[in-house]
């Protein structure tokens, strides 16, 4: 579904990604792990064409999508829940959800069923929501584009435990329905319940990758790369 090879990227002069390579197969759940500032979000942005790749390749399905326009990448089946929510502040909840929607399994009613809270705030503008509500909206908005690969960058930030659990459940369902997921999240323990593989990034490079079992069985990975 998604394959990244030797990806490099920079903000102006400062190079942030040096060599990123990984793959998300059809129906697979892959996590990107790493400490703050290691380049996880930058990787996502580069894949989505929001930041130019200096080198390397991004394949979506069989198509080379390196440095393609973001909308083409999205239309190739990618859905993004960006870091920091980025809901549209001047659109109300309903508009946020339907403005970019594409037809498919997920529709307005289903998203509201997933997040009843949003249903109670349909008339609020994006910036008149609590942090957690914005996060739900960002997830709902991405679902409404009916992607084949969901990319979630810290999508559970600021969500209450109950809601977080519902997100996990929802992602598991998505997985069962055959969708792929690429996820960055700090709740590594929760991720290990349904992720297939993990990719650890440090200083813009992939320093470890392996399947769920490998991560569980080698606790020092977490110690080494995610803790001090």
């Amino acid at each position: 579904m998604l394959r990244v090879e030797g990806l490099q990227a920079a903000y102006g002069e400062s190079q942030v990604l040096h060599d990123i390579a990984f793959e998300v197969a059809e129906g697979e759940v892959v996590t990107l792990l790493g400490r703050n500032g290691m380049g996880k979000t930058t990787t996502i942005n580069t894949i989505f064409g929001l930041l130019p790749a200096r080198a390397g390749k991004v394949w979506i399905g069989d198509a080379d999508m390196t440095n393609a326009a973001p909308h083409r990448i999205a239309r190739a089946g990618m859905g993004l829940v960006p870091e920091g929510r980025q809901v549209f502040p001047t659109l109300d909840v309903r508009e946020n959800l339907i403005a970019m929607a594409r037809p498919g399994n997920w529709d307005f009613a289903k998203v509201l069923a997933l997040f009843p809270r949003l249903g109670e705030r349909l008339g609020n503008k994006g910036n008149q929501l609590s942090g957690g509500e914005q996060q739900m909206l960002a997830i709902g908005r991405a679902l409404m584009t009916n992607p084949r690969l969901m990319v979630l960058d810290e999508a559970t930030e600021g969500l209450a435990p109950l809601i977080r659990d519902e997100i996990w459940a929802c992602l598991s369902q998505l997985k069962e329905a055959g969708e792929s997921i690429l996820i960055i999240d700090k709740n590594v323990d929760a991720l290990t319940r349904f992720a297939d593989r993990h990719v650890v990034i440090e200083k813009g490079q992939v320093v470890w990758s392996g399947d769920n079992a490998a991560l569980r069985s080698t606790p020092d990975i977490k110690e080494r790369f995610l803790h001090v």
């Binding site: 703050n36 500032g37 870091e83 920091g84 609590s130 942090g131 209450a160 435990p161 659990d165």
Partner: protein, 250 residues
């Protein structure tokens, strides 16, 4: 004795009662956590306490002084600082300048027009210390806008610290930080407990239960329970409204 005393605080957006006759008291020296579902009104409460948002009624007393109607910057001067859930920094300033300007607020007049501020060692040292405390002193000279999300969250806390408050209101300081950084911030907060009074809003229950002296649970604008971590953890109302199965994991 209680440092912060909130009585019958109210606020609504149209028909929505965000803060509904809320009472809360925070004792000097304690770490008081506030938890509750999304949209319960936690950030709104902080906004009301800090003066960012107005209130429709009720009273807020800080150290015996009435705070109602006092503008935000005066409340900070009085010793009450806050951090933001949705990162609020000065993106064009370096991380160091972000913190130094916060330190500047507490150190004499800023109507000084000619002396170069970048040379003021007292401000820079204080700023560096705060950055070091949250663990991003190596990023001191990076423009705050180019920090990663997690680093910005750390900076957010450093700024609040640099104002040297007596009461610190923290709105989800751990959100967006993971692993090592989160651990570090938890340690920072633990060490802060001996220096000042803290109100902590968090959805990270591990942190809340390990740090809090007392916990209040806010649901739909009302405090439905206040008590020690153990009392709260076992309160069925709280489990139903908020915690779910999460605590089992911890």
């Amino acid at each position: 004795m209680s440092l912060l005393d909130v009585r019958n605080l109210r606020k609504s957006y149209g028909a929505l009662k965000v803060t509904d006759d809320l009472n809360l008291s925070v004792d000097e020296g304690e770490l008081h956590a506030i938890i509750g579902p999304n949209g319960a009104g936690k950030s709104t409460l902080i906004a009301q306490l800090s003066g960012q948002a107005g209130s429709d009624g009720g009273s807020v007393r800080f150290d015996g002084t009435d705070m109602m109607g006092m503008p935000m910057h005066k409340r900070v001067r009085a010793g009450m600082s806050r951090s933001f859930q949705i990162t609020s920094i000065l993106p064009g300033f370096t991380a160091l300048e972000n913190v130094a300007v916060a330190a500047q607020a507490g150190q004499g007049s800023s109507f000084r027009f000619l002396a170069p501020v970048a040379d003021e060692a007292a401000l820079n040292d204080a700023a560096l210390a705060a950055l070091a405390r949250v663990g991003i002193d190596d990023r001191a000279f990076v423009k705050a806008g180019s920090l990663s999300h997690g680093e910005k969250r750390q900076l957010e806390l450093a700024i609040a610290l640099a104002t040297r408050p007596r009461l610190l209101l923290l709105d989800e300081p751990l959100a967006g930080t993971s692993g090592a950084e989160a651990d570090r911030l938890v340690e920072v907060m633990r060490s802060l407990k001996s220096e000042l009074t803290l109100v902590l809003i968090e959805h990270d229950m591990d942190a809340v239960f390990s740090l809090a002296d007392r916990i209040s649970v806010l649901v739909y604008g009302r405090i439905i329970a206040t008590g020690s971590p153990d009392q709260i953890r076992s309160d069925p109302k709280v489990r139903a409204a908020y915690l779910g199965e999460e605590t089992e994991d911890a």
